[in-house]
Amino acid sequence: MRRTPIVITATLAGLVGVLAFHTTPAKLTLATAPAASGSAQPSAAASPGRSQRGQSSGGASSPPRSSPAATAKPGATRTVVGPAVNYNFGVLSVSVTVSGNKITKVGIASLDDGGNQRSQFIDQQSIPILEQETMQAQSGNIQGVSGASYTSAGFQQSLQAALHTLGFQ
């Protein structure tokens, strides 16, 4: 799946915004993120703990898929941030990016959990659709991610409003 560099950059910028809220950045590294280069590499490559299978994850033998920078139309990509709404552990807002009339990204624009340890743990461990979309953007050769679901009603509420602003639904 190809993503335009503009969209990837916007997502990663959003992700950094989320990361900035947390006080334990050591757990939140983005070692496999392709920065803003627009290249795509499998994010699985750097994951530890695979000793059970006795199989090396190899080097970067898979060449990055080059992104078609020339096809990115600056005017065609729009990002809207939904209203800040209460959720189980604080306040969050959702951002939605559309390219033309297609939704290309959904993510967390802001998140304030009040510094509660329990909620920070949950926030960190249950990073939502944003994560899945980001992983897919990084891994041109996977078509989905299983697990790490996020089911906050607040997420839904803010998303709905953002979609409405963009003229969807």
Binding site: M1, R2, K27, L28, L30, T32, P42, S43, A44, A45, A46, S47, G49, R50, S51, Q52, R53, Q55, S57, G58, S61, S62, P63, R65, K102, I103, T104, V106, R118, I122, Q124, Q125, S126, I127, I129, E131, Q132, T134, M135, S139, G140, N141, I142, Q143, G144, V145, S146, G147, A148, S149, Y150, T151, S152, A153, F155, Q156, L159, Q160, L163, Q169
Partner: protein, 263 residues
């Protein structure tokens, strides 16, 4: 060099069941668009209908009324009996580790419904002009076909210790569901004790039907490694668990893919 995808999939996000369901339709035929749009509309209606009937958050949904005793099963929409029958089958197949009747607060088929609804939504799509479809209900995935040209879908399994990373990648045939405690805190209930529990960090189950895969993933997340024997005995279903210490255990034919794209 990874082979090029045939075309960019038709991508849809549906805001339903308290989460976001993504639908990706991989077409081989550029003229399939109108037909796909009709099928997509049907799939969306299936998801919204499932939400309306089975949401335990909506006080007037049939499942909420059933839980309160306002209506009987016979008075509820037909899907309710269908789902409860299939939950009973899942309870049987899981050796009792999946049990919607043992939930605090009364019968709660939520652990089955999301996968069941996504599987039903997938049924709205037909193969003509389409080489594969993925319905991803917040990490529980129903699919048919693949990328075209005989290439299967590749699906990552989120690392329970670092959800930004993938723990493994699988070749998907049919469905995959992953359950674990990282999702929403410790929400899994041991039907034998009635208490929240989890003996693994995450559990993934693949198989032909997402409703059952979802129920089985919940079951072995609760049962722990002993649950692998339950899955090993089931035709067509495979499982992988990531233990609390980060090691992997899986059934004999779990469809693990190489990390890097081959070729």
């Amino acid at each position: 060099m990874p082979p090029e995808l045939p075309v960019r999939p038709i991508h849809h996000l549906e805001n339903v069941m308290g989460t976001v369901v993504t639908i990706d339709v991989y077409t081989t035929d550029a003229t399939a668009g109108a037909e796909v749009s009709r099928q997509l509309a049907t799939a969306r209606a299936v998801l919204q209908r499932a939400d309306a009937v089975f949401s335990t958050w909506k006080p007037h949904s049939p499942i909420s009324r059933l839980r309160r005793g306002d209506i009987t099963c016979a008075q509820a929409p037909a899907e309710v009996s269908e789902v409860l029958e299939q939950c009973a089958v899942a309870r049987e197949l899981s050796g009792g580790w999946f049990d919607p009747w043992a939930m605090p607060g009364g019968i709660d088929p939520t652990g089955y419904v999301k996968g069941w609804a996504a599987q039903r939504a997938l049924g709205a799509f037909r193969a003509s002009g389409v080489c594969g479809v993925i319905v991803n209900a917040a990490g529980d995935i129903a699919s048919f076909g693949g990328l075209g040209g005989g290439q299967p879908f590749r699906i990552g399994i989120a690392d329970p210790f670092s959800p930004r990373r993938l723990a493994e990648v699988v070749y998907l045939t049919g469905a995959i569901a992953t359950s674990g405690t990282y999702e929403r805190g410790n929400h899994l209930i041991d039907p034998h004790s009635g208490r929240p529990t989890a003996r693994v960090a995450s559990a993934s189950v693949t198989g032909p039907d997402l409703g059952l895969a979802d129920a089985l993933a919940t079951a072995i997340a609760v049962a722990g490694e002993a649950g692998l024997d339950v899955i090993e005995a089931l035709d067509g279903y495979e499982a992988l668990i990531i233990t609390i210490d980060g090691s992997r255990r899986w059934t004999q034919h779990f469809p693990l893919a190489p990390r890097e794209a081959s070729g």
